[in-house]
Symmetry: C2
Amino acid sequence: MEPLYIRIHGRDNVAIIVNPEGLPAGTIFPCGLMLSEAIPQAHKVALRDLEKGAAIVRYGEVIGHGEQSIARGSWVRAEQIAMPAAPSLDSLPMATAVPSRLPPLEGHVFHGYPNADGSTGTRNILGITTTVQCVAPTVEHAVRRIKSEILPHYPGIDDVVAITHIYGCGIALDVPGADIPVRTVRNLARNPNLGGAVMVVSLGCEKLQPSRLFPSTESLPMPSGEPYVIRLQDEEHRGFGEMVGAIMRMAENRIKELNDRQRRLCAASDLVVGLQCGGSDAFSGVTANPAVGYAADLLVRAGATVMFSEVTEVRDVVHLLTARSVSVDVARAVVREMAWYDDYLLRGGTDRSANPAPGNKRGGLANIVEKALGSVAKAGSTALMAATGPGERVLSKGLVFAATPAGDFICGTLQLAASMNMHVFTTGEGSPYGLAMAPVLKVSTRTNLADRWPDLIDVDAGRIAGGEATIEQVGWEIFHAILEVASGKKKTWAEHWDLHNDMALFNPAPVT
Amino acid sequence: MEPLYIRIHGRDNVAIIVNPEGLPAGTIFPCGLMLSEAIPQAHKVALRDLEKGAAIVRYGEVIGHGEQSIARGSWVRAEQIAMPAAPSLDSLPMATAVPSRLPPLEGHVFHGYPNADGSTGTRNILGITTTVQCVAPTVEHAVRRIKSEILPHYPGIDDVVAITHIYGCGIALDVPGADIPVRTVRNLARNPNLGGAVMVVSLGCEKLQPSRLFPSTESLPMPSGEPYVIRLQDEEHRGFGEMVGAIMRMAENRIKELNDRQRRLCAASDLVVGLQCGGSDAFSGVTANPAVGYAADLLVRAGATVMFSEVTEVRDVVHLLTARSVSVDVARAVVREMAWYDDYLLRGGTDRSANPAPGNKRGGLANIVEKALGSVAKAGSTALMAATGPGERVLSKGLVFAATPAGDFICGTLQLAASMNMHVFTTGEGSPYGLAMAPVLKVSTRTNLADRWPDLIDVDAGRIAGGEATIEQVGWEIFHAILEVASGKKKTWAEHWDLHNDMALFNPAPVT
């Protein structure tokens, strides 16, 4: 492979090395640039001489200032870059650059499971909600038996999932922030892929009582009147065997209802696609995320909902998000979520610079500013239609910012609570990530990862770096893969291996 | 059954109803007391007329003051009791009432697995530590295959446990409090029941790097030099199948070492018994906890380590703990843990009154003061020899306060990190609780729970309430059951059903 770098924007004074093995000192590019030292793949080279204090520009934005002078052709290392302050939340452009609507995209369909509440499942799963960790092993024991004894008789069911977590007791409920984990558990039970067939296993004495989880029949995803709670401490359950038996009986009733459903032709507008990146590198913002961003634009044009998240990974580009918000109200909602999170991190003695992780740096990302610029590429180019708090349901169509922490599983869990029925995950360093409640389509930023993990990566966006495919081509590929997977015609690798990461609830309140 | 109440202390002006169905209005006790209204089991009756504002006394201590006057024979309800302020931490008696040493108890032994570091296992388990949630489903997939393909050839191994958690990335590491989850994961790997055979599965790019987990060879439980980390992102693992294969190969090497060990005769002093209560009721402090306290005294007399925990459940009796601390230094350590926790709860907008849970109140506990008085009975009557922070290893013999939150699984996880090799759990409302890494002996506070859950409760302390057994008798029964279970001669019900609650890490720092 010829020596190759990628410069994203005309203003950029750094570029990243494409060649998988990196490039040695003395390498000369067609433009005449010569490397004065060896630079690994995905790391940055200075395209011109940079004075001490000079702005270092990538994606057309300042990612920091030189701690020292850096000569043209040198490796621009993380420790040479002083990170700028995060944009102030007080003077942001509010809905000043709303993108015009892209032409509608018609005729794209998938086969899904329409639900009574108007949502649509891409899978037909029985979810068993738990109110407290005490009941988890009992429910898991029952689920193992349901899978081996009951499920073989009901071929229409994709899976039975125990929605377990480490929340529910030993917690403060009436304090700031506690509404987040509570609504998350509630809204997980309402996820479109669970078909509205709610069933809750409670211990009995826990703080998070079922009545707190579903305070009204309106908050339940199914018609009222039917029993949906099993309390293990109730008199009628005489011993472990009877507890398990009660769970199995209620589960079989739910399974019968769910099994009768058939996939129906649905418009692509019934998709609620959650986007996320994990194990990002400097290619994330060049290959996988722009390709996913292109697919996001296609989905929005087709009328679907597309959500992106991860507050610390958009905090440094908040000025871009508020400007493209469809209204001042939406821009204000974005600011509200950022402010809340700034404050949360400050109380804990940190800020957005606790992100990135060591692997991100190894992958060439100097700091959270550079990471954020790459991360937000997932969000494509359409107007931002709404911004919601962690664990809230997303009811808008179009592009939505669903605020969450950036940790992969907390984010995935909160996107499931927000009604996600399909997940797209981009990765540079690689993660064998999976969720039980929604298919996860994994997109690699580099071809060498896709080659090394052929049985984990679903789509290789690394081809973009070498010029073997365009962003548009891979974007369409992702779009079509989403429709195929949503229809159940294709399983993702995470589904193939049954990779199910546990729910990770976001609880900013103290435990007691 | 005749009408029966239990009054704990001569100063008490309330007592609790023993009869399982409660007692109707008009019931007359042998002492002449007549109930003016029906009172449920475990709830309190006024033994004399109480003026508005009068101290309400149970266990010889003030649990609150009357919000209104309460007539003799009435039900003393939670809402009629104003809770007192927690004892100030500034003027506590420090080591002023150190109990004298009880006579040593000799000749009690069990069969355990002596470890190189001087600790002793009660089980022979391979634990696979994970640094980050990303790897959890991969490790769990490998563990399922190890159990079905490898373990049948090694009958000396009790179990293979994936030590998974939702920590490791998307976290702030260099902030106050982050040392707690980090040392917890480290010290879980060093638990005596894992035989010093450490093995770590890392993703590669996560924040919690293996080198952070084990910064020196001294922090490792096994001899240095041997590889103990598998990084899934390393070049050599080409795909999911090879990752799983690598985990299985390292696991089999560890299993071979562990399988060669034999149980040896060990003194009872090699036990490290963690005590906990969950789903407590007003009987907890009358039956199960005093019986466990008696067993705790026997264990201490035999030279063992006994730890109790749950800061919010001892906060209101801190004056009793500092007084019985063996030295002013130990008393100061108790105060340090209380102060840290007061501050932690205050920052989150709450205090110790967020405990108890609804079920505790249903079970007759008016408030956290009454709950704490019952809870501390578990700690028996010996001098307090040490107080440690959450997740720290306990190295002292005798009675130790290992500070933890009161949530059952966070507490259990931290006690495992503190080196617990045997767990005793008392419950009134009932919990099908279990841990993967140590046997859990469950003790009921009431006979009706033991009757209803015959295949979950190991020891019924409820017999004490009706006079069928004494505290001493049940205490000895628990002591002998601990030795039998520790020897592997007897399995607890939690082991019988494989009830394994997930690790629940205590992370007071923010997620990012």
